[in-house]
């Protein structure tokens, strides 16, 4: 099934830097035509590793590849008045512009909301900034680590009396990107009725804070700061345990009777067969003791054997695996999670992580590999703006494209 994709016909101009470019990627995956607008020297993300075979190069950054799969690339110097003019022309026929410049930058380039809205009243502008477009910290700067800190995502990971543990991956950015794509879709659906576009002011700090399940709730309920609890989940129903060949995640929310019968049959149940433990609330209160008993039980098991038996009994256990294990995972393989993308200029096909959701009518798909720097500059300016070869050559000579 190839079809146009769920978002076929939607045109997105992606001006965002490395902190926000996952947002437009989410739309490209579903069929939007996303034009990544890069400075003539290439986007900053192209300088971030890892690189193919560890060879740094603008067209070999895996970091760039992941976030820009399916987009087209147009190089354009927005600081040049001619470049800003071209962007404005493109914005007339676009549905969405996504940007993550420091607040106020677009205005200085004469591409601010008022200008864009006048040029195309139906356009949606999504501005993604560390602290949003207002407030006393508006002009403060942050990277993902600082955002996880200020968003409350960092403090609660790790062990008491040790330094907090930072999330794997750039989850402050990813939460912001998801919210950005959600906000864009909400604005587009509103436009169906009003015909007007809107300006979205997204704060990455807020997106990070919203992604932390329990911290705000804990504060507003009990006026306390949630502590770090090691591997004990805040709910007190999960903790990491150690098998003879690696770690597993315990869970005490499955059918308690069958779990205890199993533990008992291994002679390791201690007092867990007491009737009180049938109550979820009692297991909550006694969590440390319950997990200590279960730790002693699992220590002689091989973790895969434990997992298979646990799942047969519908116990929500899991093995603690490295990400490499995903490539050998039968479930992901059967569902075709990893997809091959051809990079003809390298003569290789590479496996990319695939769809986060399977739409049966308008599937997630990879329309094209990540673009080389400026790969589509000529075709976009020619097809969309009717530029002649002479004009293109002049713009190139002036360093605008």
């Amino acid at each position: 099934m190839t079809g146009p994709g769920a978002l076929g016909g939607l045109r997105v101009l992606d001006l965002s830097g490395h902190r926000a470019q996952f947002c437009a990627r989410l739309l490209a995956d579903m069929g939007a035509d996303v034009i990544k607008v890069e400075p003539p020297g290439g986007d900053d993300a192209r300088r971030i590793g890892p690189f193919v075979n560890d060879q740094p190069h603008l067209d070999r950054s895996l970091f760039f590849w992941f976030y820009n799969l399916g987009k087209r690339s147009l190089t354009l110097d927005l600081k040049h008045s001619r470049g800003a003019g071209i962007l404005l022309e493109l914005a007339r026929s676009a549905d969405v512009v996504i940007e993550s410049f420091a607040p106020g930058t677009l205005d200085r380039l004469d591409l601010g909301w008022d200008t864009l809205h006048r040029a195309n009243p139906a356009l949606v502008l999504c501005s993604i900034a560390p602290f949003g477009q207002s407030g006393p910290w508006r002009d403060f700067i942050a990277d993902d680590t600082v955002l996880t800190a200020l968003g409350g995502m960092l403090y609660v990971n790790g062990f008491p009396n040790h330094a907090p543990v930072r999330p794997l991956g750039l989850q402050a950015y990813h939460s912001s990107a998801y919210y950005g794509a959600i906000a864009v879709m909400i604005a587009l659906l509103a436009r169906d009725r009003t015909t007007e576009g809107q300006w979205i002011d997204l704060s990455m700090q807020e997106a990070t804070a919203a992604a932390v399940e329990h911290v705000a709730g804990g504060y507003f309920e009990r006026h306390e700061a949630e502590p770090r609890r090691g591997t004990l989940h805040w709910s007190r129903f999960f903790r990491v345990g150690k098998c003879r060949d690696g770690y597993i995640m315990h869970c005490t929310l499955g059918d308690w009777t069958s779990l205890v019968e199993w533990v008992k049959s291994d002679g390791k149940a201690a007092d867990l067969d007491a009737p009180d433990y049938q109550q979820v609330m009692y297991r909550y209160l006694m969590a440390e003791h319950v997990f200590d008993v279960l730790d002693d039980w699992v220590k002689d098991y091989a973790r895969d054997e434990l997992l298979e038996r646990a799942q047969l009994l519908r116990q929500p256990y899991a093995t603690v695996r490295p990400p490499e294990a995903l490539f050998d995972d039968e479930q992901l393989a059967e569902r075709g999670y990893f997809v091959e993308v051809e990079h003809p200029e390298l003569g290789c096909r590479f496996r990319y992580p695939g769809a986060p959701y399977l739409f049966n009518g308008t599937p997630w798909r990879v329309s094209r590999r990540p673009p080389l720097v400026g790969e589509h500059t000529g075709e976009i300016l020619r097809d969309e703006l009717g530029m002649t070869p002479q004009t293109l050559a002049a713009l190139y000579a002036e360093g605008v494209i």
Binding site: A6, Y155, A183, A210, A211, E213, A216, R321, P356, L358
Partner: protein
Amino acid sequence: MPAMPLEGIRILDFTWVVAGPVATRILADHGAEVVKVERKDPPQLGNRKLGLQCDLHRGKLSVAINMQHPRGVELARRLAAKSDIVIDNFSARVMRSWGMDYESLTAVKPDIICISMSGLGHTGPRCNYVSYGPTLQALTGFTMLMAEPDGTPAGYGYSYADTCGGYTGALAALIAIWNRRRTGRGQFVDLSQFEAVASVIGPALLDISVNGRTQPSPGYNSQEGPAAPLGVYKCRALEGDDDRWIAIAVRTGPEWRRFVTAIGTPAWASDPKFRTLYLRMQNSADLDANVSRWSAEHSAKEAMAILQRAGIAAGVVANGIDLCARDPQLQARGFWPEVATAKGATTQVTGIPFKLSGGSGKVRSIAPEVGEDFDYVLGELLGIGRAERDELVAAGAVWR
């Protein structure tokens, strides 16, 4: 007042725990009518009028339907016929067993959109695995690679897989609606939360597949280009609490020079071993020890102010009190809105991380009690008269 962006969209919501409710609360905050279908006695996960449970279910309606009763199922099917989206986060077999799966529901609503946010997806050898956010984090690599310096796994203290899965579900719903308005067609979305959370470690997965590299635990090594200093540094205690830290990230040469000036140009900073970014990374243990001596003399808040004034990325490692009661930025932007509870009191909830120039989303009300909207849902939505409603209750098909 302008209409909310999603006004007129109705969601029949079978979700529970966290991931599904996160998805539907985003839709509810923007004007969709979300009708929660629940059991009379759902698992007690906490007080719905406060805190997390209020955050999850706010702005929604609730009806308690007995899905074990054929007439309960019939009510649910009639509600589906009047809805745009039916969403669940059960494992694959549950909705099918009730005849509430996509194929069955197209008979009552041909353009229905069904979104199923199961743990591991509807197909494949492990589609019946039972999972929760923390177990999916274990399977995908978060728990192992969010490790202590000695390699002991720590992982998240919470279920990021659930919030992340929730965003994925909300985005799927919005995209499916957008497409339906243009094509007239609904569809089925099979969302595996396992796959959704695997997708947000994308660059690491590409490094494995392209370079064959085993992923190390990142610790405080940069995941977005080289930096040093980078990490969390211990600060002066605050009101007897010594678990106070500041996160600092210094990347470019100009940033390093501003950083050195901001911390008072200490002698150690001119040591040749810190001259370039490469050298600072090579000698990061020494560098971090020196930075920690500076940070220890300041409260986290002071340290952040000093560094941000100099244009350095730095921030308090916020605990719940910092986040909810002491953060001037979040307060200035109204990120913790107040909503009315019963008896004229109010409580604060988590806000919406984006504002819309044409009218932002809004937390409309606190979470409903189970079955609170019985009369509206059965009476107004389904047009069932009082006598029949009483009779359905008496028959055990629905609870009031």
